[in-house]
């Protein structure tokens, strides 16, 4: 049996890799990829807790299903916004599109 704390260490390492990408990148598509990594680390946590602490219940599985669905919705919407942005400004760098900055 894999110790639970090792799983949680792996998933938090994945989470903070995503956080690094989220803060260090300036390209919108790579920021979207880091958000995917963050959501996946949350999924691993839900499945691990469901498997280890409450193995006779299914709630972690349902939360994972809903997170995957929300990720799909988020990616489709974000890519539509990115393509629209590229069409208008010819760039998807977050520092170059400053029309809505205060």
């Amino acid at each position: 049996m894999i110790p639970l704390s090792h799983i949680l260490i792996v998933s938090s390492a994945l989470f903070f890799l995503g956080v690094y990408g989220f803060f260090a990148r300036r390209n919108l598509i790579t920021i979207l990829m880091s958000v995917e990594l963050i959501l996946n680390s949350a999924n691993i946590n839900f499945i691990a807790f469901n498997k280890y602490l409450y193995p006779d219940k299914l709630d972690g599985v349902f939360f994972t299903l809903f997170i995957i669905t929300i990720a799909a919705a988020e990616v489709s919407l974000a890519l539509a916004i990115i393509i629209n942005l590229y069409r208008r400004y010819n760039t998807i760098d977050i520092e170059d599109t400053k029309e809505m900055k205060f």
Partner: protein, 171 residues
């Protein structure tokens, strides 16, 4: 050291290494491919825990849908062999400090927490039939209402993304 443990460390090494390459590389297409490999590794970890349904869903939706969509939009917005601009040092250092501080804090909390003893491995296999029955039931512990809400959210997101990405004709 039994086989499951070795397999778990191997899979998590794959996941973390590919995720790190995907976050640190400057070629955006390589970042997408490494993200794909990392997601496949996560599906392997789910298979290790007998979560067949979630692993299949991970492969179908993430690898077959989301990463392909990301690759399409990379081809729509970049030239294929173009490198991303190098980020300023202060930006990278700041992000690295945030990430490392957060990871150290989280690891410290995790290692000092005493989790309740892992219950003995249940023999009842997680069946898709069980998931379907609980998802569609509306009595206690049923998930019918969140299911409906999430389906409306997905519908709204798809209609909204079509509306945003549609090309308006110049009049």
């Amino acid at each position: 050291m039994n086989g499951t443990l070795i397999l778990f460390y191997f899979l998590s090494a794959i996941v973390l290494v590919f995720a790190a390459v995907s976050m640190f590389t400057r070629k955006i297409f390589r970042a997408a491919i490494c993200l794909l490999a990392s997601l496949v590794g996560i599906a392997g970890i789910y298979l290790l825990w007998d979560m067949d349904f979630i692993a299949a869903l991970q492969i179908i939706i993430y690898v077959g849908g989301i990463v392909v969509l990301i690759i399409f939009s990379i081809f729509l917005t970049h030239r294929a062999s173009e490198k991303l601009a190098r980020q300023s040092l202060i930006r990278r250092v700041r992000a690295m400090i945030i990430a490392i501080a957060g990871f150290v804090f989280t690891a410290w909390v995790l290692l000092s927490t005493q989790f309740p003893e892992a219950s003995p491995a249940s023999s009842n296999q997680l069946s898709v039939e069980q998931i379907g029955i609980q998802m569609m039931s509306y009595d206690k512990f049923g998930y019918l209402l969140p299911f409906e809400v999430i389906s409306f959210l997905l519908l709204g997101a798809l209609v909204g993304s079509i509306t945003i990405a549609i090309k308006h004709k110049k009049i």
